[in-house]
Subunit: 344 residues, 4 copies
């Protein structure tokens, strides 16, 4: 198998670091270029003490410039940059013929008006929105394989969209009945040096935030709407919990009129039984962050509550892997024609 | 002020320990008797290293027998015993003229059929159910003051009932629309020596459990039904999170038809503005377990979501204090005619 | 008893916050003035959500200026300011006749040369060094009671000095054999908004730091030297561990020639048997941060190792209470003629 | 390369689970047999929810009997059994021609009298002691490669022996001056269902234990003695800290007379510069559990303290990997003639 050259732009956040960690062990690619505004000039092993002694620990980190990426010979570029910054980088890289996997929110929305509504400004590169593919392999496998621009999903969206899409597609639940509570580990906030994320402020603390209109709602509702074949609006409350990694999501929905509970299990099984990274939990099992940490799995369980008639769906992912870098590598594998699970 | 003699039966669980800690510093009572099956014969300071050097550290722990409690001269007895065991103790103590504050679930339900449905067996002392008062001072202050048997509420119920009752009483929300996600610290499971509660199994873990019919639902729905004036059935998912103490509850409900969002704030304010342990959070503030830990406060916030029309209510308590021992002391203060906040 | 007016200057760090929390519940004092550079103009309850609903939650926070403190009528002032800043404040307050309890390191050293060696600059108010009393009540009770300027000790020093002083005074250990490993909770670093103290960087992490010459060594060796009657130089390694509060210190020392192990226990007992905040642990017990958290106790244990001949001493304190604010309140009680344990 | 068949006996502890996790991803071996007394009859994926969806998740767990292991065709067997139980298993497996890597303490000591002193009973298979090789590849690489019985070291010993051996071999430190403080994550205690290891008892807790004569001292002093060419007796205090994984060890030692500090660095560099799993940290860097978690690395740093003349050595490992299962796999690679780092 031919080894593809890869670049990572913006490797200093938690997602970028995790991406590098995954690529260091990936047998099908060569890490040709790693960039960072903050650490340019240092070796990879100096920037990340945990990468010392591993392959590439002497790789020099370069400045975050598109020209440096192109010069490295990389054919696929991961952008692990803040929202808004990624779109500036994507255009010159695409023009130079590189393929881009963007981990930011910049290319996830198809409708620039929705972008403006949720991000509070005009989209910086609206022409690219129609060219990007939403990087959820379980939904868009073929398109991702052929794409030049992949918009890798956010962590909350992954944990919410995957449990719901099979049910919405099959018309088994009422799209307007969806209520979601998610609990995220602190790395989900990124490596932000703010008082809110200090150890003492997060440890022995649990708190909701960002109500009622978290930015991730835009991509969640876009994808749920695609599945339902119409507009979907949901309630969503994110919570910050004192673990490093992981998202646990609990979803409530009313079955559509006349739908027997066993149809839910059938639809889940049909959609996901052959998916390498989706694990459907049987009776008596609940998703738990610790069972998916450091893996690319999403664990999904569901229960029908005969008392209320509601369905409860639960999922767990590692926000840095299936919720970010692992999913991006899964897309990369598809784009390179490699086995989808390689290195994951 | 006259100092009341107090007993604590079953002081080895987390609630019992916390109760002793509160009573040690309470200026209005004398701890006359502490019992424990496991530690009878030891001094209090030997059983709990953290109580050495404090008042009563030499108090001998006696066996858990009603006669010993009566002999101690205690006038008020806290029962911090497992569910099912408490009811056996209550009868002889009440017969002997003592007043009982029970922290278990044994006397919380008014309907013995509901008890059987949720606890899977006949109630052991059904004759006492009509005599007990549900020990939530914000709802039943006068009745508690006069009661001989107080059934102190559970931790999840406290965090759910207090935010919802003012809205149900005023008819502001649709009782059948209520969906609740709660996150509990590990002490909520009690001091159970089971693999599920080992450090390594809980740390870096988040998991739902007990779906779809947690036992606490019975008392929650009883009290919500009382407020609504009719049967209320809700969805409730508890989650275990890696903190020692605290419950964070997030509640979703649809406003009743035609209810303007500002009515919610009015009803909350009217119900709770003078309550010493209820803090209503203003704009921009969210409840956080760390702000109520080691206190008897419940912090409550709410948001109306114009996108979905739903109301989101959030609350935080210390499960061992406002969710158990602090609330029981609050009831004791009422029963003794002491200032309600004394020692809390 | 007469209620003393008190001021807290610099209430935004963890020590300042804890000090306010203790003073809110202290029955013998009135909090007349709280200052903060950052939050001047807000009410106390706005600055600290956890203080809402408590006494003084409407107290306006004033700017950190000596004149405001004097104007408030406070007789005793706590300085909870960064090192170097405190000394600027102390002089005008002392001149105005107020008594000062300083929680910084500014007045802990008697020798300005040692200050310069460890803090890297000239002492800003060397004239005050001879007037200050090192605020460790177990060693300097009478001097503190009479002092106008108390230099309240640091958290590491408290956990190290108290176990060692009785043994050094009695000549029972070799002063040059002392080796100390301490483990501190993250609040020990203060509320510093730096990447090193982010939740994700501290959780699931343990690390030494500050070797080989931590600043606290200067006051530790000063006090050990006073006890030994000569210069003492020790090895000291601090470690950062993922708990909010607490210091656990383990000390190794060689008994002086010919000293029988039982002499150690005798000396400890004689020194501390009547100390209200020192708990000497008997056989089979070890200090544990969780047993002293939220208290002003120091727990001390020791073992003689016949294999090596060395003595191992272990202590635990809450770094924010006995290691900072509680100890300062203990000194305040002494200065006001109040019972030493009042409010603690 | 030929794929070796492997068995794991006793896969239900944390070390056994971690071993299975490593072997699942190891490209050079086939997991032919996994045994467990508790879970015999279940599939591997049922026993460990985190292994569902991975290779071998349908592998049936067999009862822990030597005959079943032999019948599986495994050539190398890992014993992840409690101390004392492993030795019973080893003999029949060795007799049947299998090679054994034992993760317990049963074969680590060469002297059965030392075993009796530290473990309190006669060694159950003293004849095997002379045949076993201490499985620390950095010290015994060639012997391990040829061994039929490897006694894989404990977690504390690995973190202490590796930093000290180069210095003792070169005579650079005084062997009688060694003092060690270690901090271990809770998984180091094994999956013991005891109250001491409950989440609430470990979280926000730090405590020493097992003084003054921890069992691991026996193997530590054996190996240090071998390096020093004479008996070595050290002081050692283990501490339990609230992290899942990892050991941080801090060692104090006096340089031998006349040894210049730079000799230390030379000796370390010469011993370890080509070791794939030893990382020597340069100036300004400290070991941190989070940098070695989930890896087979040991990070080592040292500082000379001119004030006391003492040397401070610090190391960090993942107790379940370099301190247990990873190290055992490293030995397995040597025994199979595979690259030493394969799968690690």
């Amino acid at each position: 198998m031919q080894v593809e050259k890869i670049a990572v732009v913006g490797a200093t956040g938690y997602s970028g670091e995790e991406l590098v960690r995954l690529l260091l062990r990936h047998p099908g690619v060569e890490l040709a270029c790693v960039t960072s505004r903050q650490y340019a000039g240092k070796a990879l092993g100096e920037v990340y003490p945990k990468f010392r002694g591993l392959k590439y620990d002497a790789l020099p980190v370069t400045a975050s410039e598109a020209s440096a990426v192109v010069a490295s010979g990389a054919r696929i570029v991961f952008l692990a940059l803040p929202h808004g910054v990624a779109s500036e980088f994507a255009a010159p890289l695409l023009d130079a013929g590189l393929r881009v996997i963007d981990l930011s929110a910049d290319f996830r929305l198809k409708d620039k008006a929705v972008y403006k509504e949720f991000y509070g400004k005009e989209h910086p590169a609206p022409g690219l929105l129609s060219k990007s593919v939403y990087g959820l392999p379980e939904l868009y496998r073929e398109k991702i394989a052929a794409a030049n621009l992949v918009a890798s999903p956010g962590c909350y969206p992954t944990s919410i969209i995957l449990p719901l899409v099979p049910l919405l597609k099959a018309g088994l639940i009422d799209p307007q009945s969806i209520v979601v509570s998610s609990m995220s580990g602190v790395s989900g906030a990124g490596r932000k040096v703010e008082a809110d994320y200090l150890f003492v402020e997060c440890n022995e603390s649990v708190r909701p935030y960002g109500l009622p209109k978290h930015r991730h709602l835009s991509e969640i509702e876009q994808e749920l709407g695609n599945a339902a074949g119409g507009k979907v609006t949901i309630s969503f409350t994110p919570h910050l919990i004192p673990v490093n990694r992981g998202i646990l999501t609990t979803i409530y929905a009313a079955p559509a009129r006349g739908v027997a509970p066993e149809k839910i299990s059938e639809a889940m099984g049909q959609s996901y039984k052959n998916e390498p990274f989706v694990r459907l939990l049987g009776e008596g099992l609940y998703p738990d962050i610790k069972n998916v940490a450091y893996t690319n799995f999403i664990d999904i369980a569901w229960r029908h509550d005969p008392r209320t008639g509601r369905l409860v769906l639960m999922s767990a992912i590692d926000n840095l892997i299936k919720g970010a870098s692992g999913q991006a590598v899964q897309s990369m594998n598809l784009m390179c024609g490699l086995p989808e699970t390689l290195g994951l």
